[in-house]
Amino acid sequence: MIILLFSILFLIQAIQAYSFYQYERGFSLLLTGVVGLALSLYMLSVYMKRPGLIRRRELRKMVTVVECISCDYRNKREYSYGDYVLKEHGECPVCGKKVVVTEIYPEVVGKK
């Protein structure tokens, strides 16, 4: 912040120097001001990325995939408490054989 302040003051000084036809002084002040401004903006951007500040996070929901052990039946639904992988989950609506939970994983549904 201090460097940013000085950079702005140097730039103001540069404008003043140019307005009084002091081109050499104005140019050196302008150069210093621009370099200082770039450096301070870079440091500010690095600071903004520090941990502890508010960041957008992904919103996830857990899904369960069930599959028939015999046919190609496969269904994805929302996870419910008690699901675990290889848990038997009733009968297949296509062939009537056993349906088993094969996958439980998080799906990204948005950001907050």
Binding site: I2, F6, L9, Q13, Q16, A17, S19, F20, Y47, R50, P51, G52, L53, M62, Y79, Y81, G82, D83, Y84, V85, L86, K87, V100, E103, I104, Y105, P106
Partner: protein, 376 residues
């Protein structure tokens, strides 16, 4: 331009030796001297301000982990003194046996670690009288996360306070350099909390899932503490598949299971294949499968030592198949890419079995990992 010059002249700015330029030069010179003299201390102070945000974040995560553990325990407990007991358990530590005389140290470490696990399990079983064995395993894992979070917070706070006291830039540098990794691990542990509470599979369970898929439908037998095995036929070869008993959060005793199969049951496998999750390097894809040789098992090294001893004693080749993932993915709910890695690993193991075990021969597959959310 002339009007600007008039205004600036009125306020004593511009031209030769204007007041504001002189003041600015003095301020700049002072700033320069101060930075030269106290630059390091100012830098340390600024870094400590940043670190304090992270310490505060770790404190909130530690407190949240404790709240989760308390709430989870109270669901299965009738006792009114859950919180003081939990606070006592959260500060459990273990002291590594001395390595002055390294002979027999593996046995000593195993003894201490078994004692620690038994102690925690007894405490949890005493508090959570309404919990079944699966829920007790999950409660243990939630408490382990609480213990880890507490330790992480205390250690980071120690170095933060030490750096603040000494204003040493080197201590502060080292702490700041480590913080991204520490925070990543802490966030992953918090993700694992929900997984253990809800009995959902985590990335570390990839090896256990491979074994579970091999042994699905076969008769299972308990062979060691929290460990089961089943004999299955794969392309005309008999294979004993070992994994921790799920769907509770167990890691089992795969070393004892292998030793029992070979030494007590007298089985002579052509190969032992171990499948586990492995840490990936930056730039590698999650779910990538790699093959190698050796005992693919983590931990402090006790189980690894025992498995290697048995393999060496009977001259059994030890093959490893690993499913790569990051540290965060290993202790977070298992993601889709890891499932793809599991299916790939299954095919690789089938190929190894076809190549290395003769038809009619015998082998062992060990699925290593925390089996939370994975049945068999």
């Amino acid at each position: 331009m002339l009007s600007i010059q008039l205004v600036l002249s009125e306020i004593g700015v511009g031209g030769e030796g204007d007041n504001i330029s002189t003041v600015l030069q003095i301020v700049f010179l002072t700033f320069f001297i101060v930075m030269m003299t106290y630059g390091q201390k100012i830098q340390a102070w600024m870094m400590l301000k940043n670190i304090s945000l992270s310490v505060e974040r770790l404190r909130r995560m530690r407190d949240e982990a404790r709240i989760h553990a308390v709430r989870y325990l109270k669901e299965y407990s009738d006792r009114s003194d859950v919180e003081p007991i939990l606070d006592r358990i959260l500060q459990y530590f273990w002291i590594q046996p001395t390595s002055l005389d390294p002979t027999g140290i593996v046995g000593k470490i195993e003894h201490i670690l078994n004692l620690r696990d038994e102690r925690i399990r007894e405490e949890v079983a005493a508090i959570a009288s309404k919990a079944n064995p699966i829920q007790i395993s999950n409660i243990e894992n939630v408490i382990e996360i609480g213990i880890s979070m507490d330790q992480i917070y205390r250690i980071v706070r120690h170095f933060y306070e030490f750096g603040k006291k000494t204003k040493s830039i080197f201590i502060v540098y080292q702490l700041e350099a480590q913080l991204p990794f520490i925070l990543q691990e802490a966030e992953a542990l918090m993700g694992a909390l929900t997984a253990f509470e809800n009995c959902q599979p985590i990335g570390d369970g990839a090896g256990a899932l491979v074994a579970a898929r091999f042994m699905y439908g076969a008769e299972k037998h308990r062979i060691a503490k929290d460990t089961v095995y089943a004999d299955v036929i794969i392309d005309g070869r008999t294979v004993s598949v070992i994994k921790a008993e799920g769907p509770g959060g167990n890691v089992g005793k795969p070393d004892q299971a292998i030793a029992r199969l070979i030494e007590e049951y007298g089985r002579r496998p052509s190969i032992i294949v171990m499948v586990d999750a492995a840490l990936k390097l930056e730039g590698e894809e999650t779910g990538e499968v790699a093959e190698g040789v050796g005992a693919a098992i983590g931990g402090i090294g006790v189980e690894k030592f025992r498995i290697e001893e048995v393999a060496k004693k009977y001259g059994i080749p030890l093959y490893a198949v690993v499913i790569k993932q990051s540290l965060k993915e290993a202790i977070s709910p298992m993601n889709r890419k890891i499932y793809d890695g599991v299916y790939e690993a299954i095919e690789r193991i089938k190929r190894i079995i076809r190549e290395k075990i003769p038809v009619g021969g015998y082998g062992i597959i060990v699925g290593v990992g925390n089996t939370v959310g994975i049945g068999q």
